[in-house]
Symmetry: C2
Subunit: 346 residues, 2 copies
Amino acid sequence: MIATARRAQPTLAMVARQAGVSAPTVSKVVNGRDDVAPGTRARVLEVLEQAGYQSPLQRRSSVETSTVVEVVVDVLDSGYTVQVLNGVLGFAAGADVEVLVSVTDPSPSARFSPERRAQRMMDEGRAGMIVVTSAFSEEQLIAFRRRQIPVVVIDPLNPPSADVVSVGATNWAGGKAATEHLLELGHRRIAYIGGKTAAECNQARLHGYMAALMAQGVPVDPQYVVSGGKFRRESGVTGLQELLKLPHLPTAIFAGSDSIALGVLGEAGRHGLSVPGDISLVGFDGTKQGEESVPALTSVAQPLEEMGRVALRSLLRQARGEVPDSHRVELATHVVVRGSTAPHTT
Amino acid sequence: MIATARRAQPTLAMVARQAGVSAPTVSKVVNGRDDVAPGTRARVLEVLEQAGYQSPLQRRSSVETSTVVEVVVDVLDSGYTVQVLNGVLGFAAGADVEVLVSVTDPSPSARFSPERRAQRMMDEGRAGMIVVTSAFSEEQLIAFRRRQIPVVVIDPLNPPSADVVSVGATNWAGGKAATEHLLELGHRRIAYIGGKTAAECNQARLHGYMAALMAQGVPVDPQYVVSGGKFRRESGVTGLQELLKLPHLPTAIFAGSDSIALGVLGEAGRHGLSVPGDISLVGFDGTKQGEESVPALTSVAQPLEEMGRVALRSLLRQARGEVPDSHRVELATHVVVRGSTAPHTT
DNA sequence: CTGAAAGCGCTTACAG
DNA sequence: CTGAAAGCGCTTACAG
């Protein structure tokens, strides 16, 4: 598909002629003066929009200004976000793009409401937005698209609509591979401690886990499936506590995230359980924290930096007016075997 | 001190009159045309600079544009940088400031040389720069200041000159407190595994350690002072290996950073040494990683987020033309006692 | 190389 | 509320 050839930039005078008013009147509308009749204003606004009028400031900034993309994150605490951001930053350095990081405003008073955010992005001539948070609703994301602001969502909680470009990882395949690894080690009582139940990625991991068990003819025991609150340590702590109440402790646990796995690891230590001696443990994400824990965590690595890179590349393509090949890209996960898993001993 | 009252923005015509040339000539200089005699160009440039001429684009952007500060980091791998950045982001959200994160270009070809960076910051009307890397030399930092670009350095490796504002932590006091903690637990053979030897903060920590020992009449044994390469895991790994060669293993180790301490922790495990059973271990920084290791690390916490906040506040003050109270601020450290230290047993 | 003249795009002040 | 007229700040085309 070929980008529409741009007509010459319309001037105030051209807009005025087309709207059937004088240049000063258009000037007033553009500058938000209030001495314009509502009907006139509406008509002028329409022509302005339709003609794609840009003030000289806007026009220049889109030419001379460096490209700035905005990355919206919840908070930079998890290794997950940091690694995605690293990927974005890495690609940005090579592409001569600058990266603005903004944190989702936790307060509901919403100084940075999506509305204001969109307006600001327009004003500042930002190239687009990479979303690494679930703070934006589907409708909000689509609203950005309507304003022609390119958006890419990283691993959205809900199945992404075709109107929003998203980058994720092969969660189902990863969950399956993690469970297969444990099965190969001889484990049969394998538990899953999940993250946010409704999250698309959590469901995919859970179903990958179930698929692996079923393929081996191992029945899925609902007692061994613990839904966590979030993809956080606490979920691992409470998750293991629940499992400890069961008559038969599982011999292996697949955790929905490295954070959860690290929670399990800490809690196991507190109960005198050895990992991998008593319990084999697999995480998900492949974060640095998991790599550096003792024992180091076997984990399903998501290519987080790669996801950041791909997100930025896709965003820049959109900004150039290219149509993305696909509105959804999933990058491969792979199991990294480290010290937290061992063969099942009877 | 009162900020100088601003004169009305000079126009091209005013500059032209003052330089004794016509407006078109000034226009050419401003726009970098090459049909201007070198002497004329030099004279015009001087008047432009002295008069503080801004193009209409620059003028508006400093009024209408949101405030953007740039944070320059080496790479977002260490918890240290991430936490400082979190502090900056937190304060930024409240102050309606946007944060641009840029990574020090590792390649020497230097697409982002300090020169180009400074130019870009001027062009884009950035409010200033927070530096969390040692990639800039003292001279380069001062060069930024000369161009009126506010700069704040976080915990510089070298003692900061009075021309550059810096924010750090009380490293000496922290090193002393860490060592006192170990002394109170009854330890006497206490080693120090340091980071970058020449770094100001490393020296301060080392000397705090020595001060604590000397105050207790414990001789400083040079064998127990291991200079690490960097503030990284590897230094802890090799540091412990060196200590293991000594006839008497220390009963406690004060590491110059949490990363080093985690390196020690891992290596200790590999040698069958228990922490804190055989060796008590104290880190420095108070990072999340240290908090989440098993056992959790006793550490000298730096108020990293606070440092980020203070840095941004100071930067914004500079940007407003206020003179900082001090060119150097050190925020208090404090020992957080966790599982990696225990009383000395004989 | 330089600058008087013309021109461009927008805004302002004000008469109706 | 509207717009003709004047003006502002900058740029362009070109004569010298």
